[in-house]
């Protein structure tokens, strides 16, 4: 069915079944609490979906499960036409090269340089020799510069990660995923450390990139306005269940109230703990 080696051309993505499909998926945390219950989800290739919901609802767990970081307690998982947990370890690693998870807190070693951090995106596609050589002398400077350039970070190419702000680090994480060239992009709070203007700009950029490659994009967001502004399809998650799955145009205050009920009591501001950045954003 799916040829893993095909490049991302617009024709390919069209009609090969859903990009991802979850059926009756449950997941339990190590402590025994039920994190996800009875998740049924299908996303077509090239679709762009936002996941919203109160804190602790299970958005991160859902994304991590889709990234094959977690194995479901029950239910079926199908990603890019394959069942990841029925594959051999090697085949699963190859599948993972096509799935790009953007972490909320970018997992970048502080002393690493930005260029190496970005190049690490293609480790799954490189031979070991090429990977090790690139550690000493970066082999694809142009590719890394292009990915960073899309996020206006081209001048940070040779800086160390611990010299960047929270928002800049998040964008480096996004650049790494762009360099990886994933078919399925999973973004966990990708703009939480950015100010509202930059956040909106970055989300727009992420959406355009996904459309350009015909990649499927799922992003979890705290800020509902950003979700409604950029994504055509919204999924509301609450207490580990999908509360609603509708086009953005059909979302009204009723749905949001049901989703965030009782959240006023422990309402947290939409941004994450990272410092805010004032930046020159080129208006496109």
């Amino acid at each position: 069915m799916n040829n893993l080696q095909t490049t991302q051309t617009p024709d390919h993505a069209a009609a090969h079944g859903p990009a991802l499909r979850l059926a009756g998926v449950d997941h339990t945390h190590a402590g025994g609490q039920l994190a996800l219950r009875g998740i049924d989800l299908a996303v077509a290739p090239g679709e762009r979906v936002a996941i919203i919901g109160p804190s602790g609802a299970g958005k991160t767990t859902l994304l991590r499960l889709l990234a094959t970081a977690l194995k479901p307690a029950s239910g079926e998982v199908e990603l890019l036409g394959q069942r990841p947990w029925s594959l051999t370890a090697g085949a699963r690693q190859r599948l993972r090269t096509r799935i790009g998870l953007i972490h909320q807190a970018p997992p970048l070693p502080p002393r690493q340089r930005v260029i190496t951090a970005v190049l690490a995106g293609r480790l799954g596609q490189w031979s070991l020799a090429k990977s090790l050589l690139s550690l000493i002398y970066p082999l694809d400077r142009q590719g890394a510069a292009d990915a960073l350039g899309r996020l206006d970070l081209a001048d940070k190419l040779y800086m160390r990660c611990d010299q960047l702000s929270g928002g800049q680090l998040q964008r480096v994480g996004i650049a790494r995923m762009l360099y990886q060239g994933a078919d399925l992009i999973l973004a966990d709070e990708p703009v939480s450390a950015m100010d509202p203007v930059l956040a909106s700009h970055t989300l727009g950029l992420l959406n355009r990139e996904a459309q350009r490659r015909n990649a499927t994009l799922l992003a979890s967001l705290h800020a509902v306005e950003l979700a409604l502004e950029h994504f055509p399809r919204i999924i509301g998650v609450r207490d580990g269940r999908i509360l609603f799955d509708k086009p953005a145009t059909e979302i009204g205050p009723g749905e949001l109230a049901a989703l965030y009920a009782n959240e006023q009591l422990e309402h947290t501001p939409a941004s994450a703990p990272a410092p805010r950045v004032q930046l020159n954003i080129p208006r496109c």
Binding site: I115, Y137, R141, A145, R150, L157, Y158
Partner: protein, 277 residues
């Protein structure tokens, strides 16, 4: 928006490539000089000899006669370490007193810093202590074995000299690191240097001194075993003999005894340090 400008060069590239080049250039002669050959560990004829030697490790030798020999050798090692430390202390304490600035009379009027010409005695003594401890004790052992013959005497002398250097230097520094006011007050009141030491410095310094000395005693035990390999008696000398005779079982017993000895010494030293410090 594509960036048509060329990507700037990696600023770290030159130094990294040079370092890598240097490493590669040095690696080859290094391998040749060290004659590294991991194959010997698995080589055919070697493997047979090694194999029979290692297989003889089990069971460790436990014949009656041998155990008596083992016991004697262990006691000898302990005795070498203890006697060596005692002699070392006999040299170290006076040297430390001479080398330390804590008992300086000239410092009284200079806010704690001795006059430069008073160092005429201190620096040579310090220098001597540093020289004594820089030469590895096993070298002393080798020389003493040639001078006074095989056996524990060489080991005792080697430890005495090297550890005198270590203990002396550290003691001198301990004396300087405690609160100087009591000693200075005594010196200022007309006490002799020794009196100022015993009443002003020693009470504060005892804990640290004992702690370090006990730790050094533990090292001395290990050093005694190692020195035995060049003929300075004790467990090490016996181990060397057994190895030359390819008596694997005996070597195994002695290694186990050595490990047990080191463990016990560690426990004892911790007990004493806890008790005294």
């Amino acid at each position: 928006m594509l960036n048509p400008a060329p990507v700037p060069r990696d600023p770290a590239a030159t130094s990294r490539l040079l370092l890598t080049l240097l490493a590669v250039v040095l690696l080859w002669p290094g391998l040749r000089l060290s004659e590294l050959d991991l194959g010997v560990l698995v080589d055919g004829s070697n493997a047979d000899t090694m194999g029979s030697f290692v297989s003889a490790f089990l069971p460790p030798e436990h014949g009656g006669e041998f155990l008596v020999l083992l016991w004697q050798a262990t006691l000898e090692t302990l005795a070498i370490a203890t006697a060596g430390m005692t002699l070392a202390l006999a040299i170290a304490i006076p040297s430390a007193l001479l080398a330390t600035r804590a008992l300086s009379l000239s410092a009284l009027s200079r806010g704690g810093r001795p006059a430069w010409w008073t160092h005429a005695l201190r620096w040579p003594v310090r220098g001597l202590l540093i020289v004594l401890r820089s030469i590895p004790e096993i070298l002393w052992a080798l020389l003493f074995v040639r001078a006074v013959g095989l056996g524990p005497t060489a080991g005792v002398l080697a430890i005495a000299i090297t550890y005198a250097g270590m203990l002396g230097k550290v003691y001198a520094e301990i004396f300087e690191s405690v609160d100087p006011l009591p000693a200075r007050a005594l010196l200022g009141g007309g006490a002799s240097r020794l009196q100022a030491f015993f009443y002003g410095v020693l009470p504060q310094a005892t804990g640290e001194m004992l702690s370090y000395s006990v730790y050094r005693w533990e090292c001395a035990i290990r050093a005694s075993v190692v020195m035995g390999f060049v003929g300075a008696g004790g467990l090490g000398q016996q181990m060397d003999l057994s190895m030359r005779m390819f008596a694997g079982g005996e070597v195994a017993s002695m290694l186990l005894t050595f490990l047990a000895l080191v463990l016990l010494a560690d426990l004892l030293s911790r007990l004493l340090r806890w008790r005294f410090a």
